[in-house]
Amino acid sequence: MRGLILVAKRELGAYTNTPMGYVILAAFLLLEGLFFNAFAVGASAKASADVLGDFFYFSFGCTVAAALFFSMRLIAEERQTGTMVLLQSSPLANWQVVGGKFLSVIALITVMLLISGYMPAMIFINGKVSLSHIGVGYLGVFLAGATAASIGTFGSTVAKSQLVAVIVSGAITVALLMAWILGRVTDPPVAELWSYLSIYDRHFQSFQKGRINTEDVIFYLSLCFGFLLLSTRVLSARRWK
């Protein structure tokens, strides 16, 4: 566990010592704010619960995208700069390396969600929404962000450069976002499988409406675990090459 924390702290240091972390954070918070103002609040009158639901819709997109950008450097940059040898020549287990790096992105996502809190706070003050709706929505965004971070970690593990990493993880994420379309055009039981894999359409909308569905929580956690396991396996396979 100590090794995992060490790696996570180092990664967070890399984000705070360089402009990259701040730039990604600021860009997606700005985007989220613009979407919130232009589309969630909008010009026409809306129920405050709908405004909050729309906020979580945009927050989902921005957090997932930010998680992919945060995680693209995790392993790919170490490989590009030759510093991977520091981790490989230390007695750290591969799961500690992957876990530590994943944890650093989770910390950044948490910061991003906390900063974005002024938007639902405005809805709470000026409208009529419950704190539980806000909390459940944020739980959903956090789980989706964590899933994207795990996909990003995997992309960064398999790719040789950060650009390729973000393309690979972006492609996987888009495929999972669009899986519901495949679910509509294919026959059962494959259709059901595609539909089940849809990370927004099938599993996020209940969070958006303020409802926790255990199946959705398990789905996101399973995807996280699966991609982190894959990342660890890839790292193990490459460690000795």
Partner: protein
């Protein structure tokens, strides 16, 4: 300390290391010498627990690198040719981080880090960001990260490449100082450096051991006849052919020509397997060439290196 038996490592179908065997004693400084592609870095990476051998066994301090790589990694300090550094970190933070990665507690790192930084000449740069350091200081940081955890074995791959003469001298002092605490393996292309720093030299050629021993022992391995400097009148082709045809010649090196009025003088060095100079003179004269000068050459490491890695040629 290190026992290597029949070590072989393939990259695809190419054997970078082929059947290498050697042993290294505790607190020895051993230099790996060889041309590019001789298998030096591959061997060092296997010893550092970064590469799996295709076959053969490697034991470091009794531990098999394949069976127990994690416990081994905590005992080894490794500096690759390009020092692996997080450029955004400060020197002290970076060295401290690597120490903890190697399994040291914060208290252990705190107790040791000032001594390590001072030893590597980094005490005054401890709070500087690594990206602001010169190449020489970055190498020092690389060495500091390799020794912070008091390893039993320190592996330095080309530690002085790209350094100026003053930096080389300073790094050399750091490396020689390591001998008091640990075994040190160095690979280098700078032959004089190997000669001045190492107790023993392993010469690799095509992934195999071409020779090993002290510089004196390697000199002896060149043959009883030693190294001769010759100046011979004739064409380069004729001179080299005549020298190579002589049965006691083990190598012809450093061939260069000098144009003179009415012909060419070929200057070269010849290593003889036996002290048969008279026969060599007779062979040169018999080939219709004019022997202008024959002298004993200084058997510098460079000559030994060329002879061992290029063979008769």
């Amino acid at each position: 300390m290190i026992e290597v038996q029949n070590l072989t490592r393939y990259y695809g179908r190419h054997a970078a290391v082929a059947g290498l065997s050697f042993s290294i004693q505790d607190r020895e400084i051993v230099g790996f010498l060889g041309l590019n592609g001789a298998g030096k870095s591959t061997t060092l990476k296997i010893l550092a627990g970064l590469l799996l051998p295709s076959s053969g066994t490697v034991h470091v301090d009794g531990v098999d690198v394949v069976q127990a790589p994690d416990s081994l990694r905590a005992q080894i300090g490794y500096l690759p040719e390009d020092a692996p550094l997080y450029l955004d970190m400060r020197v002290r933070d970076f060295v401290s981080y690597v120490g903890q990665l190697k399994g040291m507690s914060s208290a252990e790192v705190d107790a040791r880090i000032d001594g390590v930084l001072a030893r590597c000449g980094l005490a005054e740069r401890a709070e500087q960001v690594i990206s602001e350091l010169s190449h020489g200081y970055r190498k020092r940081v690389g060495i500091a990260q390799a020794i912070i955890h008091q390893p039993k074995l320190v592996i330095l791959d080309e530690p002085i490449s790209g350094l100026d003469p003053l930096q080389i001298r300073e790094i050399r002092e750091v490396i020689v100082g390591l001998k008091a605490d640990c075994t040190v393996l160095i690979s280098s292309h700078i032959l004089g450096e190997i000669s001045q720093t190492c107790d023993r030299i392993l010469v690799l050629k095509d992934g195999k051991m071409a020779a090993q021993g002290t510089e004196e022992e390697l000199r002896g391995s060149m043959g009883e006849g030693g190294q001769l400097e010759l100046s011979i009148r004739g064409t380069q082709e004729a001179v080299v052919a005549a020298l190579k045809a002589y049965p006691h010649t083990s190598a012809v090196t450093r061939v260069r020509t000098e144009d003179i009025e009415g012909g060419t003088i070929v200057h070269c060095q010849v290593a003889l397997a036996a002290d048969e100079r008279e026969g060599l003179i007779a062979a040169i004269v018999g080939a219709g060439l004019g022997l202008r000068r024959m002298d004993e050459a200084d058997s510098e490491l460079e000559a030994i290196f060329v002879n061992l890695t290029q063979g008769k040629g």
